[in-house]
């Protein structure tokens, strides 16, 4: 029931977001055809504006856009006029998504163990080491790590390909460059969660009942301690998808980042709208899934 309500709430939410971005994108001065290579004659520009209904009043434009959106049509790109925004998203999104999920897996795969064992070894060497590494990772953004990995592993030692997105080998460096920052975040959350959990009463009860320490840590402790990580997972995936802009830029990966950045520079309004909406929908969906996972993992959480 709760989830139906949440689902119902997402629709007005997305509407608000779409009005907001539409207003922001449209009220910015400068049109999409200002920077064409050959300065278009006033007539051509007028025809173009007419063709894409850029002279209509705001609400008329918005309702037209919304009407097309209901059919799943994000409209034509105003810059790459032979392509629709749908085409471009369909072509570039899978690449960005794959990179994002690889980095997500990397972040969880490294962050969870580091955080877990830091907490288990609290106050001793593994903790100091793990905590330091986690904090360091949080301070190394992709735009620092990517050039370093690229210079060392690809250019200097020729171990891995320099750029592009073709074989699994091409994915290694971008995944690490994008994921390490989030490994640090996950490790810090996991450590804190584990420390809090191991002090809670149900653990004391379980210990008093004679459960082995391993069972305590892994079966009962971990399950609770991972909850903060789960609730961070939604925003994290969204950040991974946007954070990949820089990594895609450095490794020349044909993802969605370049289209977004260019759409801003070119005032390609339909493209910007389409991509912002895409990210908003993704983020809303991810948050829903995260809440759902939360309820499944934590028996104490009851949504009403």
């Amino acid at each position: 029931m709760y989830f139906l309500k949440r689902l119902a709430f997402t629709i007005p939410l997305l509407l608000v977001i779409s009005v907001l971005t539409f207003a922001l994108v449209r009220c910015a001065p400068g049109g999409p055809f200002d920077r064409e290579r050959a300065p278009a004659s006033p007539q051509i520009e007028k025809r173009l504006n007419e063709k894409y209904h850029l002279n209509d009043p705001f609400w008329k434009q918005y309702t037209r856009y919304l009407g097309n959106l209901l059919h799943g049509d994000l409209g034509p790109s105003l810059k790459y006029r032979s392509h629709s925004v749908n085409d471009i998203i369909a072509q570039a999104l899978p690449v960005s998504m794959l990179l994002g999920f690889l980095a997500f897996g990397f972040a969880l795969g490294t962050g969870l163990p580091v955080g877990f064992f830091s907490a288990v070894g609290r106050g001793r060497l593994p903790d100091y080491l793990g905590s330091f590494v986690a904090l360091l990772a949080v301070c190394i953004p992709g735009l620092v790590l990517a050039p370093m990995l690229l210079t060392l592993f690809a250019i200097k030692w020729h171990l891995l390909p320099v750029a592009l997105w073709e074989s699994p080998m091409h994915a290694i460096l971008p995944t690490i460059a994008l994921g390490l920052f989030f490994s640090g975040k996950v490790a810090r959350l996991m450590r804190e969660g584990m420390l809090n959990t191991m002090q809670s009463e149900f653990i004391t009860t379980a210990r008093a009942k004679g459960l082995s320490e391993n069972a305590l840590m892994f079966r009962h402790g971990f399950r609770m301690a991972v909850l903060p990580v789960i609730s961070y997972a939604g925003p994290m995936l969204a950040d991974l998808l946007t954070g990949s802009f820089v990594v895609e830029n450095i490794f020349q990966i044909p993802g969605i980042g370049v289209f977004f950045v260019n759409s801003m520079a070119n005032r390609d309004q339909t493209m910007t709208m389409g991509l912002v909406l895409l990210y908003a929908v993704l983020l809303v969906m991810l948050n829903l899934i995260v809440d759902f996972a939360y309820a499944v993992l934590d028996p104490r959480v009851k949504y009403e």
Partner: protein
């Protein structure tokens, strides 16, 4: 591991007791030797903070960096925009950090970029502080329908991808601001900076608003606030005299944690060419310039290593400082 699990009591004692908020500390008495009823919560936090060597080290490092980037350009023989024929010089005794593609001295440019990055980080965090504290305090103090409407709005913004929203906001506001700056006679050049402050500040205040609201909700039913109300103080006076001073600790903690986040956003935007514009520099744009020079033949490592190292060590120091403040004020959560 054995110590941790076999003797839970000794661990519980050795741990600093966690309290929900700094306000609560004033009420829980007789815990540790540092608790002296004559000390204010601020003094106690300061004592705890001083004992945290990493946090103090972070603070000292930050002061050093700040002084260095402000003072060094006056003593350097080079100007940040001074072109020369000495292109791509590796670090040497004349150019300590080497030179870039235009023969500019990297150290001076780095100082110049650091000024911008730190400025954006600090002012952006202050903007987020002002919006967040006002929003949270008003929502929490007003309560009822206004509160739920305001917090619903925060929820809506939470479900917008922050960076993307900042970029859209910037491109929408900038041309307008530039025109306005031109009419009132301010240099158009700084319009981009102002837009950066505003955009980054206005996507970073959400957590602050939520935390402040929570604090205010618990504060406003306290006897001293009610006493003040009985004595005839209006809501503005109560907010300014009683509520805001009491949430200050939490606010400072989150302010320190917001600065590195905004510095990261800024470097991200500048790297993509959406932040500060050349010839202005920031850490992000300097790293981007270094990346632009990556080629298989020669490696200009200093162009990437030095800006990266300064960025990373500053973020590290800010994080240590923020964590130290958080522990000192006993604030829970948030990362």
């Amino acid at each position: 591991m054995s110590e941790l699990v076999e003797n839970p009591e000794s661990k519980a004692e050795s741990r600093e007791p966690k309290v929900e908020s700094p306000i609560a500390t004033t009420q829980t008495v007789s815990r540790s030797s540092t608790l002296d009823s004559r000390q204010s919560p601020g003094q106690r936090a300061w004592r705890r903070f001083r004992r945290n060597r990493l946090a103090v080290g972070g603070a000292i490092f930050l002061i050093f960096i700040l002084l260095f980037v402000l003072i060094y350009p006056f003593f350097s023989p080079f100007q940040p925009d001074q072109l020369s024929d000495a292109q791509f010089q590796p670090p040497s005794s004349t150019h300590w950090f080497g030179t870039d593609v235009h023969g500019r001295d990297l150290l001076v440019r780095l100082c110049y970029g650091a000024q911008i990055s730190l400025l954006v980080g600090t002012v952006g965090a202050l903007v987020s502080l002002i919006i967040g504290v006002l929003w949270g305090a008003i929502a929490g103090y007003a309560g009822g329908r206004l509160d739920s409407a305001m917090m619903r709005f925060v929820d809506v913004l939470y479900s917008m991808p922050a960076v993307i929203f900042a970029i859209v906001l910037m491109t929408a506001v900038e041309p307008w601001l530039k025109g306005w700056f031109a009419t009132i006679g301010l240099p158009v050049k700084i319009a981009r900076l102002v837009v950066l402050f505003a955009a980054l500040g206005s996507v970073s205040w959400l957590t602050m608003a939520r935390i402040v609201r929570g604090q205010v909700l618990s504060l406003r039913t306290r006897p001293f606030v009610e006493a003040s109300r009985v004595l005839g103080a209006g809501p503005m006076r109560i907010l300014a005299r009683h509520i805001i001073p009491n949430v200050l600790g939490v606010v400072i903690v989150y302010l320190t944690l917001t600065v590195p986040a905004i510095i990261l956003y800024e470097s991200f935007l500048s790297f993509l060419g959406l932040g500060v514009q050349p010839p202005m520099a920031s850490w992000g744009s300097l790293i981007a310039e270094g990346v632009g020079q990556i080629n298989p033949i020669r490696i200009y490592w200093w162009l990437i290593l030095f800006p990266s190292a300064v960025l990373v060590s500053t973020l590290l120091a800010l994080n240590y400082l923020g964590d130290g403040l958080r522990d000192a004020w006993d604030v829970k959560g948030g990362s």
